[in-house]
Amino acid sequence: MKRAAKPVREARGERPWMDPRDLWTEALAGVLARPVRSALTTLGTVLGITTLVITIGVATTAGNQIVGRFDALTATSVTVTVPAAPPGGDTGPLVGWSGTDAVRRLAGVESAAALADSAATDAVQVRSNDVKAPGDTSGQSLAVVAASADLATAVRGTVTAGRFYDAGDVARHSQVAVLGDQAAQLLGIHRVEDAPAVFFRGQSYTVIGILGGIQREQRLSTAVMLPPTTAADRLGLRDVTRVLVNTVLGAAKQVARQAPIALAPGHEDALTVLAPVDLSKARSGVQNDVNGLFLVLGLVSLVVGAIGIANVTLVTVMERVGEIGLRRALGASRRQVAGQFLLESTTIGLLGGIVGAALGIAVVVCVAAVKEWTPVLDLRLALGAPLAGALVGLVAGLYPSLRAARMEPVDALRAPS
């Protein structure tokens, strides 16, 4: 009895053992033994992963593109609209011309200017003094606005001829005007050295400058701009209707909140603020639109791919019953047999994932190239897609591997190898 005890204990210590490299070699050989079948088996996974990568990749790229259109100009522009003062009210205008000074003091504000326009001055018959044909006195129908002296910087325009009126002109109530570049062209005024004049509402104004390259409030390029004091005196254009604010990048949201308070303390709710939309919200909004349907499509393809792998692996297991019996005879445990088939199906899934990710990325790049977009690829997507494929293969291989492991070596060996 004592003699028998020792060898028995020795046997109990024995466990089936396999070098991971051997497991990998066996699984890879199994996959490569039927290369065409393996390649066809990956198709479902390839399709699914490709669809997913294209969907997510194109959505990210397109999202980035749309966000890219919110360029620096849009992102830093804040416009405050002032409603007309209630008629007969004794409170005076909501926002005074000096209100822009308060706005300019806010952190993050680069420039600010106030504008006054009205329905009455939207289409004024303006003519230059260069009347050629008698009887042709119709002139041009242009808007006349009052604007503070720093309008040029606020609309990011450049004075292409002459100069813009300055604080001195405003203080002196000078009878001067600056023309938008298109208004100047319509009126036939190209230079201001000879002090041309424009006539409207029976008054004459000396044109001292032409403002071009207007990037905000582009309607001003067809307008006649007057100093606020002059406009108030001669046209009754007194009340500020719009305040244009330019901020540094990233400050727009904050300034949009503070500007109304600075302009009209106590009445800030009466003002309407136009601020750039939140960029991150815009991006995710676009992505959500594109993603939903195609994500479902991709996932369906993945499920189909998984079923394909499961099917083929099951067929492979049934074809290799003899081989399973041999491996069991050579000392392979049930777990090692299951591990090999699981690794084979995972490898097929991984291959499908790699091919799918590569195809998907190629398509995303092509789409971006055709649309002249900048392709945006999430590294997590590029690396995660093959892993997702491997996971599909792993799940698909569970049942066939279990079947392989359950086989009794005696029965399995009866099958031809």
Binding site: A4, P7, V8, E10, A11, R12, E14, R15, P16, W17, M18, D19, R21, D22, T25, E26, A29, L32, A33, R34, G322, E323, G325, L326, R327, R328, A329, L330, G331, A332, S333, R334, Q336, P409, V410, L413, P416, S417
Partner: protein, 228 residues
Amino acid sequence: MTVIELTGVERTFDSQPPVRALREVNLTVRRGEHLSIVGPSGSGKSTLLNTLGLLDRSTAGSYRLDGVETTGLGDRERTALRGSRIGFVFQAFHLLPYRTVDENVMLAEAYRRPRPGRGRGSRLARAREALERVGLGHRSGFRPDRLSGGERQRVAIARALISDPALLLCDEPTGNLDSENTLSVLELFDDLCAQGMTLVLITHDEAVSRRAGLRVRITDGSLALETS
């Protein structure tokens, strides 16, 4: 030193009515012995082979393999013991068609813990050595489908030999071979016995059985020693 020690081994299959495939089997095989078990089909040959090869469990009795009592062992331990102590040679060869003969021979070592001096690195060299030993050194790198039946069986024998088993268990090893190839395989068995290999051979072929040093006849699950 005994390699196989069967004491009162019974194997009954739970069918209706129950089949007693092995009855009170007692058998002892010592190291270096060449034993043949002969009997007609349905006599319990395969059951005995499966029991000896730890592929099947006996219903009663005790089986000691290479000094290890196997009766109470679990599936994993039996599997490990099978991999480390027994080399199988099957009638159907059971070679993997998509692997070279070297890879087929090396497969026997994939499922066992490497012993000192028999690591993974020297496996190919040992596979070639085993192929040389069965006279197939010139077939290294071939796939099984390019070999004759006799050569395939010798590859299978090389696969059984590489792990240096305590017991070579052959199930109708010449059943699929013509007379010429049968002769070459039997001569190989003689050589292996001369080198001290313990060989148990199950066959229904009297001519094959006659070459063994020790012959046992199985009839209806009972063993009887044959004298020449």
